[in-house]
Amino acid sequence: MQQVVNGVFLGAIYGLFAMGYTLVFGVLDLLNLAHSAVFMLGAFVGWELVVALGWPLWLAVVGAIAAGALLGILIERFAFAPLRQRPDTHFAGLISSIALAIVLGAIALGLFGPNTRRFPPDTFPEGRFEFAGASISVLQVVILVVCLVLMLGLQWLVRSSRLGKAMRAVAEDPRAARLMGVNVSGVTMATFALSSALGAAAGVLFALAFNSIQTEMGLAIELKGLAVIVVGGMGSIRGAMLGGLVLGLTEVFAIVWISSSWRDAVAFGLLFLILLVRPNGLLGRGSVREV
């Protein structure tokens, strides 16, 4: 039971990270590889707000999310917008977002230094409770709830809001959307802002969960995030969440049933099998998009 909790918890954070990834891909067909840098910077901003400026934790999380949104706009402006007219815009954007990720990483290293940072012990309530034989902390519950709320909120936003409708229109056909009076560059920017806000949220929650913030924290999760969105179905928000849970639980149960040395092999092997059976991912439906 404890292991199920461990897996769900890990999976929820993978999922939250992957949702931001998949949003940009679903709407704009672009892969933003600076997402892991946003994840890392979100964690650092959260730390700075709590430790250096003394903000309460919930406000710092909101602040980190806002900083993430701002960063998303910058990424769009610097890494993607200048290349939009090129015929190879997908590749070019991909490479320039890698470049931007490196630049952001270097800036973070310069600003924050190479040392691992930790939230002071009294940042969040220490309480824990027993549930069906598993030990769960209040923090874990809060993180799970925040993940769930953000996921449902994003679903609602994409499904029902005006912005969401515009996003879906752009995803379908940018040119037609523009002809219908949709502000395509505005929607693009909003998509990046939203995506990066989620990335920053994942970063600060991850930092709280494992209490470890360092400039390389994005690298480890980047690969997993990519795997999650491929398995969940490129561009599918619910798929990203589901894929995250599948990966988190697989990693944990690979340790339980097989051996910890085989964890990554088993997890990625299973993801490979899923793709063999469902080439479009768990919730991917060919060219029909959810977003």
Partner: protein, 424 residues
């Protein structure tokens, strides 16, 4: 459709790029770990870097008498000061170690010079935590300054490049923080006074068994890092030698931040203790997560755990951690206490294990010089190889046949937020 293909190709490209990035990161971490050996963590903590003011004359005067009394060949007198080269990482990555090493060597030299008979002229060079400036420094010291012996360099990685230079020129080189396997195999002029992990861990396990009555332990280690993996090998051997059963072996990968699945598995086997071979970063996370999971058993750690930063980072979760070290500032022998007082007075900081090893290094050079009563490098080499049972801050010190250090390790336990001596 085309864009989907493009994206798929791009994804493949990214996976390759990310994999390559991983490699670079790995080697960097290994470099950093090389130095940790039987010593403090790979994590440079800000506080330890603080100013290393030069020891003042009157500060050293007070302690010199007691501290040098143990040196052999006390009746030797040399007219000319003996030039000794000192190469440490005073800048860049390993500066946190190099600066306290430099302060400790200066302190030792000042004490010796105040005592008289044989005096020393230190020529201090910076290797910038990198092999190539290290080679340059060695060549300058040997060819230009004509030193009789060299203390350093800080990192094993650098030592592998620099020590052959000294060996070829037949100048004694004494490593005071090199713990990698094979350092002293570079030649008969290469010595070190730092214990390797292979020397510290068996003593740690033995002392823990005695103190805690261990019968069954769970093992957790990083299986993709040369240093945590070799630490595991030594642990496994030491556990077998002490007839301690291993209930389960769990592994993790470098860069992991979530260890709860492995820790839960380990806890399910109901062990008496958890044996962990991990880097400093992982060590603190493992401790806090074990505490979160309610895993209330002692943790016996390798090098990664031997750092005050561990206590800062893990807080209460670090209580009860057992880790071996070459030196502990709680050591109550007279030489250690005198050294500690003098170092604090000179620098304003408490000495760490690196400082103690560097300080002892200078004293060992002195003992060899006095014993040979000569500043000739070959005579010093022969005398140093013969040093045995010398009282030092590290305890009774001898060089082994292979010119490695032989002295008792200190088994420490974290109590009340401090490293104290186990069972002491």
């Amino acid at each position: 459709m085309r864009s989907r293909h493009t994206a798929a190709i791009a994804l493949a490209a990214i996976l390759v790029i990310t994999a390559c990035g991983g490699d670079g990161e790995e080697s960097a971490t290994e470099d950093a770990t090389t130095v940790t050996g039987a010593a403090a963590s790979a994590e440079p903590t800000g506080d330890a870097t603080a100013a290393s003011a030069e020891p003042t004359g009157d500060a050293t005067g007070e302690v010199s008498a007691g501290a040098t009394a143990g040196a052999t060949g006390g009746d030797c007198t040399l007219d000319e000061p003996v030039p000794v080269g000192v190469v440490f990482s005073l800048t860049e990555g390993a500066a946190v170690y190099g600066q306290s090493q430099e302060a400790a060597v200066r302190l030792a030299a000042d004490e010796l010079n105040a005592a008289g008979g044989v005096t020393y002229e230190l020529v201090i060079e910076d290797d910038a935590s990198d092999p190539s400036p290290g080679i340059t420094a060695f060549e300058k010291l040997i060819n230009q300054d004509g030193v009789s012996a060299i203390i350093g360099p800080t990192l094993s990685n650098t030592a592998f490049s620099t020590d052959p230079v000294a060996q070829n020129a037949e100048v004694v080189v004494l490593g005071v923080s090199n713990t990698a396997e094979g350092v002293t195999e570079m030649g008969d002029f290469v010595f070190r006074d730092s214990l390797t992990e292979g020397q510290v861990i068996p003593q740690t396990i033995e002392a823990s068994k005695e103190e805690l009555g261990l019968e069954r332990v769970a093992v957790l280690y990083g299986d993709d890092d040369a240093f945590t993996e070799s630490g595991y090998q030594v642990f496994a051997q030491a556990l077998a030698d002490n007839d301690i059963e291993i209930t389960t072996e769990q592994t993790f990968a470098k860069g992991d931040t979530d260890f709860s699945a492995q820790l839960t598995e380990a806890g399910n086997t109901d062990p008496d203790a958890l044996v962990v071979s991990a880097l400093a970063e992982e060590a603190a996370l493992i401790l806090t997560q074990a505490a979160d999971l309610g895993l209330d058993i002692p943790v016996i750690g390798g090098n990664g755990f031997n750092s005050p930063a561990l206590i800062d980072n893990a807080g209460d979760a670090a209580e009860g951690v057992i880790v071996g070290a070459a030196w502990n500032s709680a050591a109550d022998d007279q030489i250690s206490q005198d050294f500690k007082a003098a170092y604090e007075e000179a620098t304003g900081n408490a000495p760490d294990q690196f400082a103690a090893q560097a300080y002892t290094g200078m004293k060992l050079v002195d003992a060899a010089v006095r014993s040979a009563c000569s500043s000739d490098p070959t005579a010093i080499r022969d005398a140093m190889a013969g040093l045995s049972g010398m009282p030092t801050a590290l305890g009774e010190f001898s060089f082994t046949e292979s010119r490695d250090a032989d002295h008792p390790a200190v088994v420490q336990v974290v109590e009340g937020g401090e490293f104290t001596v186990l069972g002491g």
